[in-house]
Symmetry: D2
Subunit: 103 residues, 4 copies
């Protein structure tokens, strides 16, 4: 089982993770992704769903047309673990690939 | 542009729509769908996404593993219209098809 | 009902459509799309599925990991019509958006 | 790496797998799934995509409106292995769940 990250570990990992923030009590890693329209937003969600199922670690997320709001935490650990940062990085990479910011 | 439904129209339509409720101020049609697991929940979301894009009327929805919470309203009209009930019915039918309750 | 395009109309439209070819007897508009991996390929297919359902015009397509082979024709017309070129353009645009070639 | 199944192993496994057949040279496990319409067919494909990515074993498949034709083999082994039967069973279960035949 993944273990909870300490506050200083959280700080270090968060600095290396562009565009995400942390909500406290309960602790959650959060980011809003925005896309040109619903079609691209849902294509992103599909790519993330594939990644999440592969990791067996799933987001709590909502979608309203072109916006996808993601909240990550590890329920079994009662807070934030490496798994949440791993999924957050993967989502950033998928958004970058799908929108060409890195290609 | 679709017009706002009156309170008595809302009441009539809601009685014909199993499992949905109404939240007020702002008015929204709401339902939680639950599925056996994330895979089936996301398959349902994909089917609904196809329907929503075809209608050009999209849900405000969230997903947490096997649960999909849907909130419908017509932004351009500032409340609930026929479009919301049409999408709600279609979502019920998709959930029924995907889970075999009607088949 | 959409009408069949003449050979000269086909030629003109094909010249304006990068990366697609035509197979004859039966006539079909064909293209292979390739992506970095299965995840991005399936995200592309999801975006195209939304577009196809909206147009009520669906591709005959196959997928093998990172490759998506698309064959378009209008069954009801027995050949190629404007609908096929409209869907082909939309697929090109989605691939460009999803891979950032235009952004 | 998964090892090739022998002809008698193939026979045994195939008898336990409803609705699938085998094509020879190259050996592939094949099945056609049919659904009420494109929306349900694509929802099925999405559920299968999640399963395939989780297994890191992907189908060679094609779709034409309500039909999904699946061909499975293990490229790295040059034929059929346990992985193909595992994915075939999972696809059967997803089709059953999504169409309610078992629920």
């Amino acid at each position: 089982m993944p273990s909870l990250l300490t506050p200083s570990e959280l700080e270090t990992r968060l600095q290396a993770l562009p565009s995400w923030g942390i909500e406290l009590s309960p602790d959650r890693l959060v980011r809003r992704f925005t896309f040109p329209d619903f079609t691209v937003a849902f294509a992103f969600m599909t790519a993330c769903a594939l990644q999440a199922e592969k990791m067996d670690h799933h987001p709590d997320w909502s979608n309203c047309w072109n916006a996808v709001d993601v909240r990550l935490s590890t329920h079994s650990a009662g807070g934030l673990t490496e798994l949440d940062f791993e999924l957050a990085y993967a989502m950033n990479q998928l958004a970058d690939t799908l929108l060409g910011r890195l290609s």
